[in-house]
Every structure is written in structure tokens, then in C-alpha cells.
């Protein structure tokens, strides 16, 4: 089935079309979900909710406004952000602002693959992780992020800066750990 055929089948509510959509795009959207997922509300839950939303809204998809993949990514991101909002009460107090900026040898993270990077991103505190993902990976502006997360633009910038510093620190620690594993 071509993408157009899948979309057409999904608009008609065909289970066959929907299943094909899941089969084809689940791996890609799973990566998006994983980057935003909480420990207690898993990536799989976000992915499933996203597909249900996609099925419901697929007749609103307009190919003149962007790619189908991009449209699905946006839905997945929105689903993830809503899941995070719902759980904000219990996650607010879990974060620490004490971050020491560390400079990292640029060659270190060249050896990290996507899975390792995803794990490191996942370890970032929520507010840093969200801004980092939205800005660095998805390409959202700070203004858009501020609207999405209901924060100030300045906070978005500051969180991004802290996210990057923390990520560098984690990369460095990861590198040391890897060295230790390899040598020890």
C-alpha cells in the first residue's frame, strides 16, 4: 500500500489501513514517544494514544501544509506533552536546578549511537528534556516552546542552556563509564 492508499483507507475507518499505518510508522513514532516519555507513563502508552488520535484526525490532514510524517510527529509530541501535564503534580519536586557546566571534548559523543543518546536524553529532568527535544530535535522556536509549555521564552532559553550543559556532563560521565567498562 502506498502512503496515499493508507491515508485513504484510514479515512474510511478501515482496520486494514489502520493496521498498516501502525506497522509502518510505529518504529519512527516510538522514538519520538521515548524522548518525551515519563518513567510511569511509558512510551508505549503515548504511542498508542497518539495512534488513536491520528485515526480520529486523519481526515483533517492536509498534504499541502507538510509531510504526513511531520503531521504524525506533531500529534505524537502533543500527546506526550499532555501526558506530562497530567503528571506534573508529582514530578515537579523531583528536579534539581544545581547543574555544573562542564566542557566536553567534542570527540567523545561521536562514539555514542542513537540508542545511547536517547537514554541520556531520557535522564534529563523533565523541563530540560522537553525544551531540548522541542528545540534541538524538532526545531521549534523558543516562542513556540513557550506557548506549548506555558512558560516564559526566557525560561525556555535558560532551560535549553542548562539541558545542553547537563547533557554534556552526562555524556562525559557515560564516556568515563564506558572507558571503565572497556578497560576494567
Amino acid at each position: 500500500m502506498t502512503v496515499a492508499e493508507i491515508i485513504s483507507a484510514c479515512i474510511k475507518g478501515s482496520p486494514k489501513g489502520q493496521r498498516e499505518l501502525v506497522r509502518r510508522y510505529a518504529p519512527m513514532l516510538m522514538t519520538v514517544s521515548r524522548r518525551y516519555a515519563l518513567a510511569h507513563y511509558g512510551a508505549q502508552d503515548i504511542l498508542q494514544d497518539s495512534f488513536i488520535r491520528i485515526f480520529k484526525a486523519i481526515n483533517q490532514y492536509d498534504d499541502s501544509r507538510g509531510s504526513f510524517e511531520g503531521w504524525m510527529r506533531k500529534i505524537t509530541i502533543n500527546t506526550a506533552l499532555q501526558a506530562i501535564k497530567k503528571n506534573r503534580l508529582k514530578t515537579n519536586n523531583l528536579e534539581s536546578d544545581e547543574i555544573k557546566v562542564t566542557s566536553v571534548d567534542p570527540d567523545i559523543y561521536q562514539k555514542l549511537n542513537a540508542e545511547e543518546l536517547l537514554e541520556l536524553i531520557k535522564e534529563l529532568p523533565e523541563k530540560y528534556r522537553l525544551v531540548f527535544n522541542l528545540n534541538c530535535v524538532e526545531g521549534y522556536s523558543h516562542k513556540e516552546i513557550a506557548q506549548l509549555l506555558e512558560i516564559e521564552e526566557a525560561s525556555s532559553r535558560s532551560n535549553l542552556s542548562r539541558a545542553k550543559s547537563l547533557l554534556r556532563k552526562k555524556i562525559l560521565a557515560n564516556k568515563e563509564h564506558m572507558s571503565w567498562v572497556r578497560t576494567g
Binding site: 518504529p27 498508542q48 501535564k85
Partner: protein, 448 residues
């Protein structure tokens, strides 16, 4: 690789990365989520369906009966006298000539049924004859069932259909309900049943029966409309049970709330509009203001040292006071609703019983107060944690109605309400909050 290249590198690695995932498992879970149904919705829908079906069958049978029986033409006015029993007791019955007897029987039955459908009563329109027919036909059916087969075949070829009217007209209600309360003459029926057609003195009995067949409900004569409209005011008080559920894993917060929330109630005031069909079918709507109150108590323990205490003696109680502080909060949820109920009412003289089931369309919801968030109160007045509009809830009512006079009616309505949708906004807050309320309502309504 500079600072920006870190971002680029991560984006290159992560953006188009495909994670390992089992699409079949995802698909199965999606199907499970989509299949989530609310059984209560089905029960209510089924109940409403049954009521509607019952009403439709009832109306259909009434119409059919009227067509077949055709007692009154549209503009005809009946003014008849009850037939004296003596008219019929004077007949000579010739025992040997069964054919003649049967012809007489047929003639008399037919005459009695057709000529005296409504004894001592006046009807002003065809519509008014509907309900009397129901009673009459029902009794004719009884009559047919009781007599033996020969007599049965001689009865007018008209079928009655509805047994409800007869079965509910027990002797204690006759005087109140009917202008011609001679239902007791039914007691003669067994005599006919046990006799041989050739030597029956059925003529006398039959005439009595016929004159009773067309009992007229008083209300039907007075009323010329199919639908009765009534407007009223109502008040209700319900005890509430909150159903809290954590969608995710906020078990600690949920536990605090379950332990601290002590008392829930709902009271309401409203204006109601009822439309009741002559068959008993009721449609009810209105505009209600409801308020749910709940009281929460959060206990906390503080210790105050009375004198400087040696470290080794701390906690022994000698040197310190322990205060238990209880903080009480009253939360209010205010709602404006429009109910839509369908039901059925059984008229029993001046009283009536009814059942109603329906939907409550919530127009707006406002909140005032706090919810417990771990060990503190969280101000949530009109916050995004609550829905602005609940959507649809469900209600089931049983009603006892007492007629005060021709126009006024007082109703007592035990009711059950189920707020199927969470009051909290699922997009923002992960504890779902529903109510199951049970209580009593009163309504004073006037016909117009």
C-alpha cells in the same frame, strides 16, 4: 565539533531513528483502548429503549383497538341509558331450539356491546372514547376467555388487546376511577362459563356485563387532550459517593484524598416541565441548579519543645507538646444542568407511580475550594484542573405522585445520579473524580 555540532549530531542520530517495537502488540493495545466501553451507558440506553418500545407498542395497540372497535364516530355524541336487566330477563328461551337461542345470544351480545358502549355518559369527541374503549375491550376479552367455545364464537368479531387497564382496575379503585363502577358484576361470569349454552340465562348476565364493559375513567371524560402539560419547581438532596481513580500511578496523592475527604452531598433546585401522554408515557425536562459540597480534613502533627531538650531525651514526650492540627476545607462544585428524561406513569386514582430514566446535559460547571495534593491543600477554584462542562450524566428516578386537586400535584422522587465523566480535566490532572449520588427529590407541579 563545536557547541552547535553537538545539537546537530544528536538530531542526526535521533530524529530519524527507528526504535524496536512490536507493531502487532501496539495494534492489539490500541484495539483494547478503543473497545473500552461504559457498561452503565448501555444499561441506561437499554432501559430507555425498553420504555420507548413499551410505549410504542402500547400506543399501537390502542390505535388498533380503536380502529377495530369503532365505537364512536368523530362527531357523534353519545347519550345512552343503562339497559334495565328486566329487558332481557323477559326473553323466552326455548331449550330445544339451540340455533334460535344462539341467534338470540348473538343478537343480544351484539346489541349490548354496540348499542350501550358508554352508559350514562356523554362524549364530546372521538378522542375521548379511546380510553373507555380500552377498559371495555379488556373486559370483553376476559368475557371471551371465560365463556365456552360455542358462546365465544357468537361474540362480535372484535378483538381487544390491552390487559393493562383491566388488571390495574381492582375493586378498591373503581369508585374513584370510574363513573360507572359496576365492575363487580364480573362475578357473574363463572356462571356463564359453567353452563350449557342451550339453557343459559346468559341474557341477563350479559347485559350486566356489557354495561360494565364500558366503564369510563373520570379523567378521560374531563380531558380532551392527548398530552397533559405541567410545569413545576423541584428540590433535591442527595448523599454523594465519590469515585476517585488514579489513571497513572499517583497512589500516594490518591490515598491522601481518600483519607481526608469526609462528607459529600448534593442539593439542587430546578424548574421542571413534564409532558405526559394519556397512555402513561412521560417526557420530562427543565433547568436545574445543582451544587456538590464536600468537606475535607487534613490532619498534621507538629511538635513543640517546651524547654531545651537533651538530644537523648528528644521524643520522650516529657519536654514537648504534640499538636494535632486539623485543617478543614469545604469544596463546592456548582452546576447548571438540563435533564431529559423518559418514563412511564401508572395512574392509580389520585395517586400515580412512575419510573423515569434519562440524561443530564451539563451546561456549565464552576468549582470553588481545594483538593488535597500530598500533604497540602491546592487551590483549585475555577482552575484548569476541573472541566468547565461535564457533558452528559445519567439519572434514574422512581416517583410517587399525589394529586392535590385537579391542577396541582406533589411528587416524591427517590433518585439515583451517576456522573459518568470525570469532573477533573483528564488533560491536566491524572486523578479521575466521579460521583454516584443517591437521595430524594420533591416536586410541586401544576397542569396548564
Amino acid at each position: 565539533m563545536g557547541k552547535d555540532r553537538l545539537e546537530e549530531y544528536i538530531k542526526d542520530q535521533v530524529f530519524d531513528h527507528h526504535s524496536e517495537v512490536d507493531p502487532d502488540l501496539i495494534w492489539d493495545n490500541i484495539q483494547k483502548k478503543k473497545r473500552k466501553k461504559r457498561p452503565f451507558l448501555w444499561i441506561i440506553s437499554g432501559l430507555i429503549g425498553v420504555i420507548i418500545m413499551g410505549i410504542v407498542i402500547n400506543l399501537f395497540l390502542n390505535n388498533e383497538t380503536e380502529d377495530q372497535f369503532g365505537l364512536a364516530s368523530e362527531s357523534q355524541t353519545f347519550e345512552t341509558e343503562a339497559v334495565s336487566n328486566s329487558n332481557y330477563s323477559s326473553h323466552d328461551i326455548i331449550e330445544d331450539d339451540q340455533e334460535l337461542i344462539l341467534q338470540e345470544v348473538k343478537k343480544e351480545i351484539t346489541e349490548s356491546v354496540e348499542a350501550y358502549p358508554i352508559s350514562k355518559q356523554k362524549l364530546k369527541s372521538k378522542k375521548q372514547s379511546d380510553s373507555p374503549n380500552i377498559v371495555g375491550i379488556t373486559m370483553t376479552e376476559v368475557f371471551r376467555e371465560k365463556v365456552n367455545s360455542n358462546i365465544h364464537s357468537l361474540l362480535p368479531k372484535r378483538k381487544g388487546a390491552l390487559n393493562v387497564s383491566f388488571s390495574k382496575a381492582n375493586s378498591s379503585q373503581i369508585n374513584e376511577k370510574y363513573d360507572n363502577p359496576r365492575l363487580a358484576t364480573l362475578g357473574l361470569l363463572p356462571q356463564i362459563q359453567s353452563s350449557n349454552p342451550t339453557n343459559l340465562l346468559f341474557d341477563r348476565n350479559l347485559i350486566q356485563i356489557d354495561s360494565d364493559v364500558f366503564l369510563l375513567p373520570k379523567e378521560t371524560i374531563e380531558r380532551s387532550e392527548n398530552w397533559t402539560k405541567a410545569i413545576g419547581v423541584s428540590g433535591s438532596y442527595l448523599k454523594g459517593w465519590r469515585n476517585l481513580k488514579s489513571k497513572d500511578s499517583l497512589e500516594q496523592g490518591l490515598d491522601y484524598r481518600l483519607r481526608s475527604e469526609k462528607f459529600m452531598e448534593e442539593w439542587g433546585l430546578g424548574i421542571n416541565f413534564d409532558l405526559q401522554h394519556r397512555s402513561g408515557f412521560v417526557i420530562s425536562t427543565g433547568l436545574n441548579y445543582n451544587q456538590i459540597n464536600d468537606r475535607s480534613i487534613l490532619s498534621s502533627v507538629t511538635e513543640e519543645l517546651l524547654v531545651p531538650t537533651p538530644e537523648e531525651l528528644a521524643g520522650t514526650g516529657v519536654y514537648q507538646n504534640i499538636f494535632v492540627r486539623e485543617r478543614v476545607r469545604y469544596n463546592k462544585i456548582r452546576m447548571i444542568d438540563v435533564p431529559l428524561r423518559l418514563g412511564y406513569s401508572w395512574q392509580l386514582g389520585h395517586q400515580a407511580l412512575s419510573v423515569q430514566a434519562g440524561l443530564i446535559f451539563n451546561i456549565s460547571t464552576a468549582t470553588k475550594g481545594n483538593i488535597i495534593n500530598f500533604d497540602e491543600f491546592l487551590e483549585v477554584s475555577n482552575s484548569e484542573y476541573f472541566r468547565k462542562n461535564l457533558g452528559v450524566s445519567y439519572e434514574f428516578l422512581i416517583g410517587y405522585h399525589q394529586r392535590i386537586n385537579d391542577n396541582w400535584k406533589l411528587s416524591i422522587l427517590p433518585s439515583f445520579k451517576y456522573y459518568g465523566k470525570s469532573f477533573t480535566n483528564p488533560d491536566v490532572y491524572s486523578i479521575e473524580q466521579r460521583y454516584i449520588n443517591l437521595g430524594l427529590g420533591m416536586r410541586l407541579s401544576r397542569k396548564f
